[in-house]
């Protein structure tokens, strides 16, 4: 495939003497039809017609309001004759924004098709001028199974990602720059662009929101460090214990821990959270043992609640780290130990010079992934404490809330979408910084061809 600058390609197409190539600028597929690729040309033409219809009948209706996100809200007007309030339909900011994004995406896709049409036109004209073979439609199709197989394979996955991941993300990023909250719910009340107001609110403008944001952010980071560190260390110890040569029935031990994590988290965590309540099983057990006389406030004392989520997270996480480390331990090359033994290294020394460095080295990327996972560890927090105990000095958040559970509550309970999106963008920034550090450190990207 010839590598070309798209702008130069377009300029070259405009400069040709071939009328059909130049006509392809405005009527797609002209050149293809002229040189015998009738079906291909017809498809281009059909794409153009469909896009024009889409844009005129659907897209433009929303896109023209994009600047204001709608002016007239839906009204309720008293109908004297029928003696009822009649709804007068107005604009809907949400739909305007959503479909504007869709329209822009479709337009970009169409421009790509248009560019392919031009490039194809120039190529077919050149081939015709040189009297060389021009692919029939059937031959074009068969290249989709070989030279252009990536197009065949990628089109369906990319379409679903565009619709169900990329489009919603772009939409929500834009929401962060609006005032889409509980007081601005279309169609009754429209929302509009407010620029960086939400970002300013979160950082300094609005005292309670800024206080909440930094409080929750601080706990999120403390939590992620604690959760990752405890699981890493204890999971490693557990794996070493199980893989110790004196231990019998290794597989049975591993299975015991696997069963615990195979139970869906919404079940196990809900059970544990019920058991931790003041009349729950754990308090009952402690009282029956005579260790305490009044129930412990696991869920209402902030410090205790934070301790509890970290401890319960160990119950969830350690089996995973144990499995990872078991795999790593079994993969340490045996000859490393043999040569160390020849050199006279004892078991303790072998552990600190071979086993430990090897395990740390191999699991570093996975650990950073776990760290990122813990920043976004929705299930453990939401199912155990639901972010509680609720804090009066916080804006719609509790003392164990992470950024991601706060985002969820703002979205689902408060419909404060604008603030939620702002937080989402901030989470993205933290996550991307952490992930990029892994990505660069492992060098796996650069070495991806190594095994082939």
């Amino acid at each position: 495939m010839e590598k070309g600058n798209p702008l130069r390609e377009i300029a070259a197409a405009a400069g040709t003497k071939d009328w059909s190539v130049r006509l392809s600028f405005v009527i797609m597929g002209t050149a293809a039809i002229r040189y015998g690729q009738v079906i291909k040309g017809a498809l281009y033409l059909a794409a153009q017609v469909l896009f024009a219809l889409f844009f005129a009948l659907f897209g433009w209706r929303y896109l023209r309001h994009f600047g204001t996100l709608g002016e007239t809200a839906q009204l309720r007007v008293w109908d004297e004759q029928a003696q009822i309030y009649q709804r007068v339909p107005g604009d809907n900011s949400m739909l305007i924004l959503l479909f504007s994004v869709l329209t822009v995406a479709v337009t970009v896709a169409f421009l790509l098709v248009w560019y392919c049409n031009l490039k194809g036109a120039r190529r077919v004209a050149r081939l015709a001028a040189q009297g060389r073979h021009i692919n029939t439609f059937r031959e074009d199709i068969s290249t989709l199974l070989d030279e252009r197989f990536h197009i065949t394979l990628l089109s369906a996955p990319m379409l679903t990602v565009a619709l169900f991941t990329a489009l919603p993300i772009v939409f929500m990023i834009l929401i962060a720059f609006t005032n889409f909250d509980a007081n601005h719910q279309p169609p009754g009340r429209l929302f509009t662009w407010t620029g960086l107001a939400n970002v300013a609110d979160v950082f300094l403008g609005n005292e309670i929101k800024a206080h909440t944001f930094f409080g929750v952010l601080g706990w999120t980071l403390v939590w992620a460090v604690l959760a990752t560190f405890t699981n890493y260390l204890l999971g490693m110890l557990l794996a070493i214990a199980i893989n110790h040569k004196a231990v019998r029935l290794k597989k049975l031990w591993r299975t015991c821990f696997m069963i615990a994590i195979a139970i869906p988290q919404f079940v196990s965590l809900l059970l544990i959270s019920r058991a931790l309540e003041s009349s729950g099983a754990i308090n009952v057990a402690l009282q029956q043992l005579g260790w305490i006389s009044t129930p412990l406030p696991f869920m209402t004392n902030p410090a205790l609640a934070r301790l509890v989520v970290v401890l319960v997270n160990m119950w969830i996480g350690i089996p995973y780290t144990m499995m990872t480390f078991s795999g790593v331990l079994m993969n340490i090359p045996g000859d490393l130990y043999e040569s160390a033994e020849i050199d006279g290294a004892g078991p303790v020394r072998r552990f600190f010079t071979i086993t430990l460095p090897y395990m740390v080295f191999v699991t570093t990327p996975a650990t950073i992934t776990t760290f990122v996972g813990n920043i976004n560890n929705f299930n453990v927090i939401y199912l155990l404490t639901a972010g509680g105990p609720f804090a009066l000095d916080y804006y719609q958040a509790g003392k164990t809330d992470l950024l991601v559970t706060w985002l969820y509550k703002l979205t689902v309970n408060q419909q404060d979408y604008a603030l939620a999106s702002t937080i989402g963008i901030f989470i993205f920034m933290i996550v991307s910084v952490c992930s990029l550090s892994v990505y660069n450190r492992t060098g796996a990207v650069r070495k991806e061809e190594m095994f082939q």
Binding site: L98, V267, T411
Partner: protein
């Protein structure tokens, strides 16, 4: 070996086994608690004693027969349907994308991989409202089809483990086949897929499990359409404040019914799981 050394070894072994047994007990306790509660005859979430006074299988019977408020059998079929469809779609999409990035070289490859990486870093919850309104706009809100699309739509972003596996299949096999006149389409079907069975199984099983354990996206998509709930969301509704007293033991029974197959799958999956964690480490 001296006697003293042997005694020390024995003591270490006994100690290790004792520690492991204690830990295993801690880890299995909630599981035992779940089983006990599912067999308890007395209703209610909280009892002032630990061992049930009487045992019954009635909770399981109620789960499948008392469908007036909570239609568990229907939820079970919903989940099975959604899980099968999204498992099929996810597996196919993931394999396609992984093959392309692993084996084919084309101009926008790097750019597409980077975009995938960036998209994967946004928190999933951020976009769920947009997805809901989008589904509503195309008339799919509160349907099982919407749920299938949500679970499998992002499959093209989670190709890392499968690609990592494909990368280890020697490229000389492809080259030999190309010389014999095979197209890339043939290579995909005849060389890559047959040698990737473990990772295909892993992908499929993970995709199959996801709908059984998710309750967030179901809540957003289905709102109050009880009939289209999946088991996770349905069971979750059973233990909200209004229902927990009457349905707690039934919830436990339902949880056992859902957890049992997953536990069995997990135990069979152990070895793939370990391989997946270490080879897929590239993903952020």
């Amino acid at each position: 070996m001296t006697k003293r050394k042997a005694a020390r070894k024995l003591r270490a072994a006994v100690g290790l086994h004792a520690v492991l047994a204690a830990l295993a007990a801690v880890w299995l306790l909630p599981v035992a608690w779940l089983l006990l509660s599912s067999l308890r005859q007395e209703q209610g979430a909280y009892t002032p004693y630990l061992m049930p006074r009487a045992f019954t299988l009635g909770n399981y019977a109620r789960l499948f027969t008392d469908t007036s408020l909570f239609n568990f059998p229907r939820w079970f079929l919903n989940t099975l349907f959604v899980a099968l469809c999204s498992c099929l779609i996810t597996t196919v999409l993931t394999l396609m994308v992984a093959y392309v990035y692993s084996r084919l070289r084309f101009r926008s490859r790097k750019a597409l991989m980077n975009v995938s990486l960036v998209l994967g870093m946004f928190p999933g919850f951020m976009s769920m409202i947009a997805i809901y309104h989008f589904m509503k706009a195309i008339g799919l809100d509160q349907t099982l089809l919407a749920l299938i699309l949500v679970y499998s739509g992002g499959a093209a972003l989670n190709y890392y483990i499968v690609k990592g596996f494909f990368d280890t299949i020697p490229k000389s096999l492809d080259e030999a086949a190309t010389i014999d006149g095979a197209t890339r389409h043939d290579i995909f079907w005849r060389i890559i897929l047959p040698s990737a069975k473990p990772v295909i199984a892993n992908t499929a099983i993970n995709a199959f499990i996801a709908p059984w354990v998710d309750f967030i996206f179901v809540s957003v998509i289905m709102k109050d359409n009880y009939n289209n709930y999946t088991v996770a969301k349905g069971l979750y509704t059973m233990v909200d404040k209004a229902n927990i007293y009457h349905y707690y033991t039934v919830f436990c029974a339902g949880a056992v019914v859902v957890a049992l197959p997953i536990v069995l799958l997990f135990i069979r999956l152990q070895k793939y799981y370990v391989a997946g964690v270490t080879s897929g480490a590239v993903k952020g």
